[in-house]
Symmetry: D2
Subunit: 234 residues, 4 copies
């Protein structure tokens, strides 16, 4: 991952997240990822039902689940296991999103299993203290998202920079190896660039892309701005 | 559905439920369903990640999800919506399995939406009273499964016939249109035949098939026994 | 209970529900209950922490919990058991309120145990179908509360009478012995009288009393209107 | 709290936790606390329904809830708020016990509110990593309890000392100010002394006391052993 800025697109359960429309966004992400190969990384977190089809169709982007249950394979009706996500072509999973909070033990379980399976975990948190708590569990990455800004278009990186810098400071004290993304309200290239300027490794977005008139242009704008900012920072 | 006995195979999250092994069971179910076309119906309830691939591959069996969340499309990270299941090729869903109980309002929400989307809902219950409660919500079918027998190989239809007949009686008083399946501990053709004899519309099984040395032979045994019993009952 | 209209006051977790303020409401309820002895019944559903003190202080009103967990005594940290509620002087419990929905099995468990312990269960439901489902589990009473009206002051008994009459009709088809209360938006004596006119056994209120400038006057207004209406209906 | 060893007795929902039997254990704890005034601290975590009566009756021990919900006073039927616990005489609460896990945001919410209300929070964790995560949220104390040892009588302090020392090391790296208790399987004075020797601030027990033939003698044994060990370590 290193110095390449990361764009994570959370498809959520939007109408545009499934079927032909979801596939179109995933393929657009794949084109943008090809253009910025070596310069940026794009991850699409798709509904569980779409992982197999999207993973089959894309080449450059990585496909994540949006949530997995904290169980091993077995008699667990309705569970989405990390093994099933991997089998479907998924590279990792989001966990503990504000719309699907889980326990510390749940995150701990998923992170440990992901290490064993060679998969990744992007864990979410809402405050600097919560981000530090998540960091203690050593996820692959973490995202700080004040829930009150999610879906508002008020960018955390510009409206609440202290949440981001506070999270970075507390996370580094606990576990300096965990890259931190900024989430919530990120809608423009300038918001994404501001996140990089604050010291994050990238951004986690949802409605900005999934509800955009032109999702591909929006993803290109976000990636381009982060890449420029990252290069400027050397 | 009518007089055709129904076999529902709940794949759960078993190791045999995903990837090539899950597909093999689904294709075997499809072959058995072809053999008994017009005489029996087979439904496979697969993990969310497998719905699209299995639905693409099979012709005669219907594919169900094992659980759906009670939300409409929107900002619901990690949710499995009925819309997503339909988009992936699913024909319906299990709901309220003992390993994933939900509220009455949740079942009510899912049943109403399924009607709108032209989909089916198989709702589970553990006791005659719970079965009557579920029946009041008018699911497509319901299954009575005493949780203490699930996975034991002690067939509800033979060891606890009063649970099945009690459920049938109470369900008919509330909503005579809802077909009732027997679940829990059904492992042999004789168990399945006993369920038909008690007046059920079929059986819901999981480990009996998913852990069988030869899942196809096991499904054929169960279907054959139910079809014979149904014909004998005229 | 019979023909005596029932007023249930759900204290929720309002600031007025605990300590001296909660006790004042409970004692006021007790005075009103004394005035209408033999004509009406008043139940106060108080926070778990208040049951013992309130039960010790009142004479005419019955004290309920607002929720109990579906476990027997044992190693269940943080659980509120029906045994603990009884030991504290509680006479019963609410269950499945829209702010604390539970599964069918949970309601079933609590109702069965309440019968064994000689206690009562008032189960909530949001729609006629959900009310019928709840009725199949044979609670002592049930309350129909469309969640979209809770706390609004728009009385279900006047703004949505069809929800109440629909629930009454469906409940009677399933289990004619279960008295049905109307909840949500009941704020005046006229709303309560309208509920009795529709055929209910009483009303379930919360904010109307707990946020009233004079809770005692409000409870007297509600009880008086129901008693008059019940007498008029003879 | 300082150098005084801490004994926390989790009453859980045992039959001995409520009514006269629960009160007897609490009063016994109070006698032991008086004997060791200035040398040890005893906390009893009682069912929500018992807080008021126990807090009224004891003088030396502090009374905790076993769980609180992450809500402020308001329309939350069935919730146990920290405000209600305080009003009933509680000094703090357990949170995130293995029998009642909650989210990081939930712990964060409860800790912040406890600080505002002048109350205490004892947060539980099952592994060293989870303990570090909990420590990042700055509870008053934390307890490390491998769930597989709870109720077994196999003392974590002697059978799995590396869990305790690992937790101590990781917690100190994150937040050196948080005292750490050992839980799970502690049944004898020697187990408790071993916990002090490993560097903990005390122990969290449940069945050892609640199921003891003589709970008072058991609490005295545990406290005496910790006090001696603490003095020996000087």
């Amino acid at each position: 991952m290193g110095l390449r800025p990361v764009l994570v697109v959370n498809f959520k359960a939007y109408e545009t997240a499934i079927g032909a429309r979801g596939m179109a966004v995933a393929l657009a992400a794949d084109r943008v990822a090809s253009e910025y190969r070596g310069l940026a990384r794009i991850i699409v977190a798709v509904p569980a039902t779409e992982i197999a089809r999207v993973a089959e169709a894309v080449e450059e982007v990585d496909v994540y689940a949006q949530h997995v249950d904290a169980v091993d394979p077995g008699a667990h009706t309705g569970a989405v296991t990390l093994e099933a996500v991997k089998e479907a072509g998924g590279r990792g999973t989001l966990i503990n999103h504000s719309e699907r909070r889980v326990t510390i033990s749940h995150i701990d379980f998923v992170v440990r299993k992901a290490v064993r399976l060679g998969m990744e975990v992007l864990a979410c948190a809402d405050t600097p203290a919560a981000a530090a708590a998540v960091a203690a569990l050593s996820p692959t990455m973490l995202a700080v998202e004040p829930p009150e800004l999610i879906g508002t278009g008020i960018p955390v990186s510009r409206a609440r920079p202290e949440v981001v810098t506070g999270a970075l400071r507390m996370v580094r004290a606990v576990n300096p190896d965990v890259p931190v993304l900024a989430g919530a309200g990120i809608t423009s290239g300038e918001d994404a660039a501001a996140a990089i300027r604050l010291g994050t490794a990238g951004v986690l977005v949802a409605s900005a892309v999934m509800k955009a008139p032109d999702p591909e242009a929006k993803m290109r704008e976000l990636v381009e701005a982060m890449v420029r900012e990252a290069e400027a920072r050397g």
